[in-house]
């Protein structure tokens, strides 16, 4: 026990925090002005001696100013615990007083970026569900104090004592470098490529904004036209491009996986998961079982081949869904046995596993076929109008079978199983996702029926949970009503808190 720390009076973080804040400020400054800096460095040699001196002087001044700001931020950042509330005072000119009742605290996470690792402090962030402003991050606490704080808050918040990870406890999942390699190899490379390209395009747009005024865009346009001609002319070029993109896709998968999941370790305790991972920024998270809204177990054909899948834990989201992507906690590279033990520790799944899979009505297949074919035909029409070349229609020989194949895959993967307390929804296109939800955690329920669906006597069910929607499309109207009534009954009669 760490009773040596007194939280009832205001205290500051570790003085090392000044350094952490300082570097964070510099980092933020560079992030907004990197282009300017780049231009400056490029033209540095053209500067006169006097000019250079001024530049050094202003830079030094700026750095000193930031240092002062970091110091003041540190000085004005105080926290204490009183009356089951976590109270925080901060702000240099604009003083803010935040107070979070313990029962609102969702979890307490430890994080270490590279600086914090070097100087040996932890960033403690307190996550709350609901109001998005009350997210608190204490930038620098020594380990002992951080753990004492966590213990104090979690004891009082009555979600049971959190164990400090002791090294001799056996982890539930431990992913070494070799496994991580496997994971990266079997990632969805196409998706990673897209993300990477999106970043690159964003990056270029930023440059373009600056360069655009210099009249280089014309040259760029010329290049694009040229390469377009080359593209239609040479098969060789396409091959090179293909190989290049494959390498980029593979690399981006590797980088992504290694950055986020390096040294992934997960422990299972009585009422929570403790997960730590990350290469440069080490993150350790305590995930309360009770606060997990639903889990999704996903795999893809490649991963299936080597017998691994990943689990996504979904917690309460606040505000817009995309704001907090990092609230999705992912365990990659889990083996079957590990998945089974995680599932078993969360819910009672035996009845569910033995239950019968129910598939959507054939209307679902018709709907997806209609939509995807209409979309493709529309795309072809647009392409034809732009290029007015008949040759593009040759590709239909390939495109339509592929679409048919994908649609059939998607339809096949859609199913649901429902028992008294649990719901399992399967979905996916190439990947397979199985979402497990305890019915009483539903927030509200919606049923939709279009004019055409009514004719076929089917309806869509949308279950809204605190961490997003779960769809069950195109099931028989009768079944939809049954699920609707059953869900409401379960929610309204449950005494268990949903978070």
């Amino acid at each position: 026990m760490n009773n040596s720390f007194d939280f009832s009076n205001f205290s500051r973080q570790s003085p090392k925090g000044i350094l952490v804040i300082y570097i964070h400020l510099i980092y933020k400054l560079i992030k907004v002005s990197w282009l300017l800096l780049l231009l400056l460095i490029k033209d540095f040699s053209k500067l006169s001696n006097l000019g250079a001196n001024y530049l050094y002087l202003s830079l030094t001044l700026l750095l000193l100013l930031l240092l002062a700001r970091a110091y003041l931020t540190y000085k004005n950042f105080q926290f204490k615990i009183a009356n089951e509330h976590f109270i925080l005072k901060q702000g240099i000119l604009k003083k803010t007083n935040t107070s979070i009742p313990f029962h609102r605290i969702q979890n307490i996470n430890f994080k270490q970026n590279i600086i914090q690792q070097i100087i040996g402090v932890f960033e403690v962030s307190i996550e709350t569900a609901g109001s998005k402003d009350t997210e608190i991050a204490i930038k620098a606490l020594p380990l002992l104090k951080a753990e004492a704080l966590k213990e104090f808050v979690s004891k009082k918040a009555q979600f049971g004592a959190t164990e400090i990870i002791d090294s001799d406890k056996k982890p539930l999942v431990k992913i070494g470098v070799k496994e991580l390699l496997k994971v990266s190899l079997t990632e969805n490379h196409l998706q990673n490529l897209m993300i990477f390209l999106a970043i690159i395009i964003g990056f270029f747009q930023q440059i373009e904004q600056i360069v655009g005024s210099l009249g280089r865009t014309e040259a760029l346009d010329g290049l694009i036209v040229e390469s377009k001609n080359a593209l239609s002319a040479s098969f060789f070029f396409i091959l090179i491009l293909f190989i290049f993109l494959t390498i980029v896709a593979l690399l981006s998968s590797f980088v992504k996986v290694f950055l986020v999941h390096f040294n992934l370790t997960a422990y299972l305790t009585d009422d929570s998961f403790e997960i730590s991972q990350g290469l440069f920024t080490k993150k350790s998270i305590v995930l309360k079982k009770q606060k997990i809204q639903n889990i999704t177990i996903s795999t893809n054909p490649l991963k299936k081949l080597i017998g691994i899948s990943f689990i996504t834990f979904k917690q309460v989201l606040s505000g817009r869904v995309n704001v907090k992507k990092d609230k999705l906690i992912r365990l990659v590279g889990c083996k079957k046995a590990q998945i089974a033990s995680i599932k078993a520790s969360l819910f009672n799944v035996t009845e569910l596993e033995n239950g019968e899979r129910k598939y959507p009505n054939s209307y679902y297949k018709r709907r997806i076929f209609t939509f995807s074919f209409l979309f493709t035909i529309g795309m072809y029409a647009v392409l034809f109008l732009i290029s007015s070349q008949v040759e593009i229609f040759y590709s239909t020989i390939l495109v339509f079978p592929i679409i048919t194949f994908l649609v059939l895959k998607k339809v096949k993967k859609r199913f649901y199983k429902i028992t008294d307390t649990m719901l399992l929804v399967g979905s996916g296109l190439l990947e397979t996702h199985l979402t497990y939800l305890e019915i009483f955690k539903v927030q509200n329920i919606k049923m939709k029926q279009t004019f055409f669906q009514k004719k076929s006597d089917v309806a869509d069910i949308v279950l809204q949970t605190a961490s997003g929607k779960i769809n069950i499309p195109c099931i028989r109207f009768e079944d939809a009503i049954k699920i609707y009534n059953h869900t409401l009954y379960k929610v309204e009669n449950s005494k268990t808190s949903w978070m």
Binding site: A129, S318, R320, Q443, N444, T450, Q464, A466, I481, E492
Partner: protein
């Protein structure tokens, strides 16, 4: 200590048998006024385009253009009129439901035990007719929760009161 009991429920409360209440008739006027407010500027814009912007070639087809515009407007009004009767809500002891839609029928139910907060508000035109709307919010992605527009202010406050007491029970 009470013994845990879980009696078999033979018949669950059925959403199909629920008696829904139509929203206030005056709200139709609000919807129509809103539609006119939306279309009038567009129409004026079209006239301005006709007079000053369009070339003679386009103006040859000006009658069909007006025709399409008015037909579109007429269709929207017709759809609004027909779908208005489908806007209904219902309160039960433990939840609130709202259904709407002509071509796409939607029904949403929010259990009181999951409601985070309730809001009533009156928009300008609604206020003229003494109407307001009530929104309930649950946790998570709150964009899709339940909103009932076009009930009298009195009813809205009554429902709010009812839900608030139910939440605090």
């Amino acid at each position: 200590m009470t013994i845990f009991s879980n009696d078999l429920v033979l018949e669950l409360p059925d959403i199909k048998k629920l008696e829904f209440i139509k929203i206030n008739k005056n709200y139709l006027k609000v919807i129509l006024i809103n539609a006119f407010l939306f279309f009038t500027p567009l129409f004026i814009g079209l006239i301005v385009m006709h007079q000053y912007v369009f070339t003679a070639e386009i103006n040859e087809f000006i009658v069909p253009i007006y025709g399409i515009f008015i037909a579109f407007f007429g269709f929207i009004i017709w759809y609004l009129l027909l779908s208005f009767t489908k806007r209904k809500y219902a309160l039960r002891e433990k939840d609130i439901s709202y259904k709407s839609g002509l071509l796409v029928r939607k029904i949403t139910t929010v259990p009181f035990s999951r409601i985070q907060h309730v809001e009533t508000d009156e928009k300008l035109i609604s206020r003229v007719f003494g109407l307001s709307s009530i929104s309930v919010y649950t946790a998570g992605d709150s964009s899709d929760d339940l909103v009932i527009k076009g009930i009298t202010k009195k009813t809205a406050l009554k429902i709010k009161e009812f839900i608030t007491t139910k939440i605090n029970e």
